[in-house]
Amino acid sequence: MTALFATDFFWETWPWWADTIFRLIFAIVAVLLPAGATVYLYLFKMVSFMQSRLGPMEAGPYGSMQLLAEVGKNLQKEDIFPARADRTVFAMAPYVVLLSTFLLAVVIPFGPEATFIDLDTGVYFALAVSSVSVIGILMAGWASASKYSLLGGLRAAGQLIAYELPLILAVVGVVIQAGTLNLQDIVTAQNQQEIFGWGAIGNPFILTQMLGFIIFLIAVQAELTQVPFDMPIAESELVSGYMTEYSGFRFLMFFIAEFATANIFAFLGATLFLGGWSVPPFLTDLLGIAWDSPIMNLVGPFVMLTKMLLLTFIFYWVRFTYPRFREDQLQKFAWKVLIPLSLMNIAITAVFKVVF
């Protein structure tokens, strides 16, 4: 079998569409599998323990099949269109939101060669496509012909635009330090740079970009419209905002998009700040392999998964602890606190980059 892969014959007869199908399946797995894992681990179980209850226990051992039950439930439900809804836009909105999630996943590297696309402007692309979801949310809010949805959609638009800026500015510090916009090269930089001449753990940018990392987490939380920034869906005020009128399959799409996007942002955060798919260099030195040896193509996804779970833990921890801001307080927080702080971070990083 290995001999077959090694022959030129195999690669010449490898049809063009096989590669596409392989990538497609991997993309779906890369988006849906972590989403399911975090929803079960955090949304169902961790939160239940925080709230002194057990969570789902009946479906499967320890409730582990609950997610399948939920999906099945949503698939069975009637696909309701509100009477005065703009049907086309209403139907398209969940797909647009989900599209942004999949586009985001495209540039994340999972190993030295395990990438969907190795874009030179990976960071730029990721941050650009993450805003596509705003269009979907606005479409959903407007087309639902519901006042609650409209309020939710408009709140979402205002909020996502305000928090796009600190998100980008927080990442600029990393880009300056790595000297590249390519996500793969950012991972390389974190492994090959040293902190004050000590390179055993490489230079994961969380250490030098702590401020940027915190701003990134806050902005991502707002970008995901999670508590304390969940005004667009505010269950106790707007009754789920732009999602109010959705049911069944389309609601499921919003649900998947919400949690999958959380994971993809965590993947992005892990790549930018926690060293991406690589393990600390002293570990690979111990095993006697290069930090980017081909074996990392297999280990990398699991390393990423671990780092993603660490970051999403923080997201959900905050989500189920804090009350929510008011819309004007959120805008004040973005423009008066986060943006000046991230600009300061950029200035300091630039000075250090020039001096050292």
Partner: protein, 390 residues
């Protein structure tokens, strides 16, 4: 009446300014938003019709009566002991507290006084009903502001109190335990010690809420200066209970007029707050739960011996006359005006429930606020729908 603090005065001026601004913009085309009758923030079927300009409320109009059950009329065709089963369902979170003023009014008409032991246990159960009711408010305020976790702690810790109420009365929510002339039963064996233990959970819960909500910057930002009710406005709208005490009015019927209840035998304090905003209302209720725990603990140590039932005829006929008794219930002042024509059933019962009067301030209070603040204000005014629509 206490002096008006600076912050409250500023907030009041701001509210007046908002009022004036709204009056100018009344001509503008607005959106009418129906909050309720089915909306998570209205805990039931309250409906608030809000005219919005953007997210600002120009005009808010509470519409009540979606759950009106006609208790005043129903009481007329029931005998006196049967009425308590009805009025248990008015404020369904602190049911025992609903029975007490009615029974006291009937006792006043019949010129019967419950024996000291019965009065004592009545007070204990009354305060436990208050704890059960307000504990849920303390957690629910978090949910209204977006923090879902506190309410689960509230449900968890309230269960200990409900268990004790159930152990003593047989009913978790609707005890129906109070009788004219005393109580249905004596306390079961070992109840006092168990209740003391369950009160420990409530003390811990209060400290937890102090950390989780009172000490949270976002909670403060969302509640401070929101829904400011000056003392004179509060009194003129007929607010009562913690809502009026949060505006700095030192008025508590438990201390000022403890008819037929044993409040004068314990050492406790009436808390007030000068600000009159949503934060003050939450804070006052938190202190009130702590005081209730103190009251119950002291009462448990000093239960007098003796009968729990006075001498009462088997068939209760109330002599002709009128009586009005009001007590300080968890939601505010609750009073029963009972008119008797000497028969088996009351001729007329008028129920003065706290939430109904508390809701009357909403059109004034919600004017000029934003949609998220509407939810904060409604939550902090704390109504139970059964108490509005009786």
């Amino acid at each position: 009446m206490t002096a008006v603090s600076d912050r409250r005065q500023l907030a009041y001026i701001a509210a007046q300014a908002a009022d004036a601004r709204v009056n100018v913009e009344l001509e503008a085309e607005g959106m009418t938003l129906n909050i309720g009758p089915q909306h998570p923030a209205t805990h039931g079927t309250l409906r608030i019709v809000a005219r919005l300009d953007g997210e600002q409320v120009i005009e808010a109009d509470p519409i009540m009566g979606y759950m009106h059950r006609g208790y005043e009329k129903l009481a007329e065709v029931r005998t006196y002991p049967q009425v308590t089963t009805l009025i248990n369902r008015i404020d369904w979170l602190g049911s025992f507290a609903n029975e007490v003023p009615f029974i006291l009014a009937a006792e006043q008409l019949m010129d019967i006084e419950a024996p000291p032991r019965a009065q004592h246990i009545r007070t204990i159960l009354f305060e436990m009903a208050r704890i059960a009711n307000l504990t849920l408010f303390l957690g629910d305020m978090g949910v209204q502001l977006g923090a879902v976790t506190p309410v689960f702690y509230a449900f968890r810790d309230r269960e200990h109190i409900l268990n004790q109420i159930e152990a003593a009365t047989g009913g978790r929510f609707h005890p129906n335990f109070d009788r004219i002339g005393g109580l249905k039963d004596d306390l079961p064996a070992g109840w006092v010690a168990e209740t003391k233990e369950s009160l420990g959970h409530i003390t811990k819960f209060c400290n937890l809420m102090d950390d989780l909500l009172i000490g949270n910057e976002i909670f403060e930002a969302r509640t401070r200066g929101i829904g400011v009710v000056p003392a004179d406005v509060a009194l003129s709208y007929g607010l009562s209970g913690a809502n009026v005490r949060a505006s700095g009015v030192d008025w508590d019927l438990r201390r000022d007029n403890p008819v037929g209840l044993a409040y004068d035998k314990v050492d406790w304090k009436v808390w007030t707050h000068p600000d009159g905003d949503s934060f003050a209302r939450y804070w006052v209720r938190l202190q009130e739960v702590r005081e209730s725990v103190k009251i119950v603990e002291q009462l448990l140590d000093t239960i007098p011996s003796g009968p729990i039932m006075a001498k009462v005829p088997r068939i209760i006929k109330v002599p002709e006359g009128e009586a009005y008794v009001e007590t300080e219930n968890p939601l505010g002042v609750m009073g029963y005006y009972v008119v008797s024509k000497g028969g088996l059933n009351p001729f007329r019962v008028k129920i003065r429930s706290a939430s109904f009067s508390n809701m009357s301030i909403t059109p004034w209070l919600l004017k000029g606020t934003y949609v998220p603040d509407v939810i904060t204000i409604l939550a902090s005014l704390y109504f139970i729908l059964g108490d509005i629509d009786r």
